[in-house]
């Protein structure tokens, strides 16, 4: 595991096929990830994820549109993509973060693991800095609480 990566997993009481559809179909992606998603679940597909702070019918002026490129799509087993690269540029390891989903079939369902790496490659932009500063206005106490929650959560657990 790279130093700047985060790994989380969760056990889902559903088949790998059902989980696969939830993580790769645009209409489903917009229910767990962004507010809107235009992306195909096939390797090499370029798309966008859109966050609309004003709601779907709201003011588009504040929409955040994030590019995404599918890297790997092995049905019911692996799905990975790069995102957060600069608009118009092709994603690579220096300008984007890599998200890798693995689906592992178990007796009780499917273990879904996600690893996001290259986080430090995408924490340089102004928006990120602004968010960083805003979060820190709430002070160290808040951050410490989050840190404790994070560390106290079960290793590899992601059930909250």
């Amino acid at each position: 595991m790279a130093a700047d990566s985060v790994e989380r997993e969760i056990l889902i009481e559903a088949s790998p096929e059902v989980v696969w559809n939830v993580i790769t179909e645009p209409e489903q992606i917009s229910r767990w990830f962004s507010d809107d998603a235009e992306v195909e679940g096939r390797a090499g597909a370029d798309g966008t994820l859109t966050w609309s702070p004003g709601g779907r019918g709201g003011d588009k002026e504040f929409d955040a549109i994030v590019p995404i490129r599918v890297v790997e799509a092995e049905p019911f087993r692996r799905f990975s993509f790069r995102w957060n690269h600069p608009e118009g540029a092709g994603p690579d390891e220096n300008n984007s973060a890599l998200v890798e989903f693995s689906l592992i079939e178990e007796v009780d369902g499917t273990r879904l693991r996600v690893v996001e790496s290259g986080i430090d490659a995408v924490t340089h932009d102004e928006e990120d800095k602004a968010r960083y500063l805003e979060e820190h206005e709430h002070g160290w106490e808040k951050h410490l609480g989050e840190m404790l929650d994070y560390v106290a959560s079960k290793p590899r657990g992601a059930t909250r």
Binding site: D4, R8, V18, V22, H143, E146, V151, A152
Partner: protein, 116 residues
């Protein structure tokens, strides 16, 4: 600052290790503690705790103060902040997304009428 995180690979590596995060967590709870005290609450040996504390000390995440024959350690929050801010945020975001994926998949599975 977030940019400092990228510049300091050693700091990232120090908190990337799950056991070291547990040592940090225990130290945060104690406020100030010796290697022996920390080892009592963790499923690792005193020697392992000492090794992790040495790594954390080297990158400035903890500070040791000698009191007679023992060294008392404390967390240096300003360094912890630098090292973990992005990671904590990203981890929390994925926890939320995974929980939503779970709910969606389980209700789709239930609708399909096959139990798991």
């Amino acid at each position: 600052m977030a940019t400092a995180v990228a510049a300091d690979d050693a700091l990232w590596a120090a908190v990337a290790d799950p056991t070291r995060r547990r040592v940090l967590d225990a130290l945060l709870e104690h406020g100030e503690a010796t290697t022996t005290t920390l080892a009592q609450g963790l499923p690792v040996t005193r020697q392992a705790v000492a090794k992790h504390l040495a790594v954390l000390n080297r990158v400035g995440l903890v500070a040791g103060r000698r009191r007679g024959r023992e060294v008392r350690y404390t967390v240096r929050p300003e360094r912890l902040d630098d090292a973990t801010e992005a990671m904590v945020r990203v981890a929390a975001q994925w926890d939320g997304r995974l929980a939503r994926i779970k709910r969606l998949a389980e209700s789709a599975q239930a609708e399909a009428g096959i139990d798991f």
